[in-house]
Amino acid sequence: MTVVEERPAPPAAPPPRRPNRLWALLRNSWRQLTSMRTALVLLFLLAVAAIPGSIFPQRAVDSQRVTEYYAAHPKLAPVLERLGGFEVYASPWFASIYLLLFTSLIGCVIPRLLDHIRALRLAPPDAPKRFDRLPQSAPSVESAMTPAEAAAMLRKRRFRVKLREHEDGSVTVSAEKGHLKETGNLIFHFALLAVLIGVGFGHWYGWHGNRILVAGADQGFCNSLAQYDDSTLGPRVDAADLPNFCLTLDKFEASYQPDTGQPKGFEATVGVSENDGPVKTREFTVNDPLRLHHANVHLIGHGYAVTVRFTDRYGASQTKTVPFLPVDGMFTSEGVAQFPDVNIDPKTDRRDPALQMGFEGRYLPTVGTGATSTYPAENAPALFLTAYRGDLGLDVGTPGSVYSLDQGQIETGDLKNVSGERPHELKLGETWTLDDGTKLEFLGTRPYATLAIRYDPTQSLILVGAVLGLIGLMLSLGGHRRRVWFRALPASPDSSGGTLLAAGGLPRTDYPGFADEFAALVKAAEEGNP
């Protein structure tokens, strides 16, 4: 990443006593790696390597879509999987590019840092013999300023200045300005390194989980791994390290546009108890997360959980509240209520796997004429369910979705549809009596909130790094390094008392405004304007 502007050539290395081929190879490879050309190539590789991550679904972003991709492209998906196509940003090839890039960066900025520190401690170099060879120069004119005054004038304009008296009686003023450009440049690149390290540590020591929290004190959640719907711990985090807190969703309010049903606002009210302390009521919403000690709770979605009561053929009843997942903006929601432990004969106390019950279907908060909801709030709620009887397949132990029945069981015929093709409609409070006399009652609904709970220990550090990087970037893009010299020749006997000052200027970067600045400096010296 070396931006060579005008770096003096490195002093020629002394000829090696014993040419060592391995050493030469290593040294040349290192030089090659830290060259600007390589850095540019690596930058482009990084850009190109990032593209697949926007084309293929990413597991870290949305694992559901990866599963869908598998279903849609059964041949291609495993190949992509092996190439890291579903985890581009965690893949070895992506990592190798950015690690090489950062190695190249380190190999470039550390020598530059040393150079820069040296340059900061050195006085500006003495004036060249001839000013007319420089991009900017002004011939000797009688000036109101002595060299010392000219030096003070330049110092006032925040130049670094060195006054030198020569043996021939001439005095030179050397001035240099714009070291902030290189300082900013180095700050920017070191900030990038800090951000990368921060991201790495955040990955190691952070954790996150998702959880659907249904309203009601009986549906509370405590922060332990088992209670999450899905969760990921960083490699250096142990399940026992998770902070101790419990949440209950006391209230969830959503408001919508009356005509279009577009959401207007959400508000979740929760009871929070941290470290087994007293329960406090807190409110949070989208864009305004609940910040706890070492955990942030974000509201990322909501929906309806349906409460149904099933009464089996022996008269025993069970009540369940199950979240249904919204499938469109009007909250047409899909879900399933499963009753594996029903129809147990009280005489034998034995469970008949062929008599387990499952109800699958949709919940519509506002029923219209079609099969989908027409408004997201509960204006005319109804359930549309299909009843299944048989083995739900829950005892096998393979983890399946809790929002749909096991399709494999239905295909093998172990789980049978017992209510016909058309789903049965159940209004609020209605009871549905099945063919064998068992009953399903639609008791009501409760709102639920989808929570993302996260902890990233380094995110504020990364923010500081990013802001520093931006400041460095602006300094480096806005700054201009330039040198200005004045030379006063020894006074000749016929002079009228003023000093004869000649000036020269050298912009060290592309700086179109330098001519004006130089002219202003020369004028200031001539007129004695400090």
Partner: protein, 324 residues
């Protein structure tokens, strides 16, 4: 008010179109007195057309040619229509904002409307400070007509309130800086392309796009303008996309960086533009190569503006593309 905004939008496009036609007229009928071309000019004057170009660039020689009148008037009328179109563009945005009672960048239609406005305003600023660059106007107005036309036809969305996910003050900070930065970066591609054409022409290339080069401003001037626009927009883009964006993402989605398609492409654009700035600062890399990198950055910005919204769905999907 929403109705008025839509009508203003149509008139804006027509005004840009008129400016474009007039720029083209000047382009076609005016002999171009460009810097460093004073020598060929007498011959051109005989043909009867010569547009003087007021040029306040100190280092470049000013070529003043007797005014032929017609072409000059056409050029002035083009600038007039361009500025009028800019005002109408502003009117479209303001009425849209009043109609929706919020900042007018809540969906893709409004976003493009705002980004093109920034681009157009930057161009107007350049035009007023450097009248020598007037000939670029043809390409700028062409780009604006195309972008606004596509916006109105593909991405139009009726006025509506913001979804809760966008109800945050970061909405104003994040989106406005990105709009500003994208607008400048998009407009920065115009002098970049002009530079490549002019430079190719100067080096003796006479195939089609390079034939346009003879009427373009000085290559160094174009190259410097390209760099300054990019050097100004890059930190803005860094702030908008890589600082303000992640801060908001942390508050809204819980994670500061999600590798959402929009983020991926912003990252790609950032990396490519960083490559441009590095290439330009390296003496061993030719300025033409660096400028090609800037144009590649422009392509990635377009991909992010249109492609990502149309082809991919992701967290930024509420920037809906009018039902597409």
């Amino acid at each position: 008010m929403a109705e008025l905004s839509n009508q203003l939008m149509a008139v804006t496009v027509l005004a840009y179109l008129a400016a474009m036609v007039l720029y083209a007229g000047e382009y076609a009928f005016g002999a171009k007195s460009r810097i460093g071309r004073a020598a060929v000019l007498p011959a051109r004057e005989l043909v009867g057309a010569g547009a003087p170009v007021p040029d306040d660039q100190p280092p470049s020689p000013v070529a003043v040619v007797p005014n032929s009148g017609r072409a000059e008037w056409v050029g002035r009328a083009a600038v007039g229509f361009n500025l009028l179109a800019l005002l109408l563009h502003l009117g479209t945005l303001v009425t849209r904002g009043i109609a929706a009672d919020r900042m007018p960048w809540g969906n893709m239609y409004e976003y493009i409307l705002s980004a093109t406005f920034v681009g157009s305003a930057v161009w107007a600023g350049v035009l007023l400070r450097r009248p020598a660059l007037r000939h670029i106007g043809l390409f700028v107005s062409l780009a604006l007509v195309l972008l606004l036309g596509a916006d109105g036809m593909i991405a139009y969305t009726p006025v509506g309130p913001l979804v809760p996910a966008l109800q945050s003050y970061w909405f104003i900070i994040h989106v406005s800086t990105i709009i500003l930065a994208s607008g400048i970066l998009l407009i920065g591609a115009v002098p970049a392309a002009m530079f490549l054409i002019r430079d190719g022409y100067d080096r003796g290339k006479r195939r089609f796009p390079y034939t346009l080069g003879k009427s373009l401003p000085d290559a160094t001037l174009l190259e410097r303008l390209t760099f300054r626009l990019h050097a100004f927009a890059f930190p803005l883009f860094t702030f908008g996309a890589l600082i303000a964006g992640p801060i908001w993402a942390e508050a809204s989605w819980g994670r500061y960086w999600n590798w959402d398609p929009k983020e991926v492409w912003a990252f790609i654009s950032w990396v490519v533009y960083a490559g441009y700035l590095h290439a330009r600062a390296t003496p061993s890399v030719k300025r033409t190569v660096a400028t090609w990198i800037a144009l590649l950055g422009f392509a990635t910005m377009l991909m992010n503006l249109f492609g990502v919204n149309l082809f991919f769905s992701g967290l930024h999907s509420y920037a809906n593309a009018g039902g597409m």
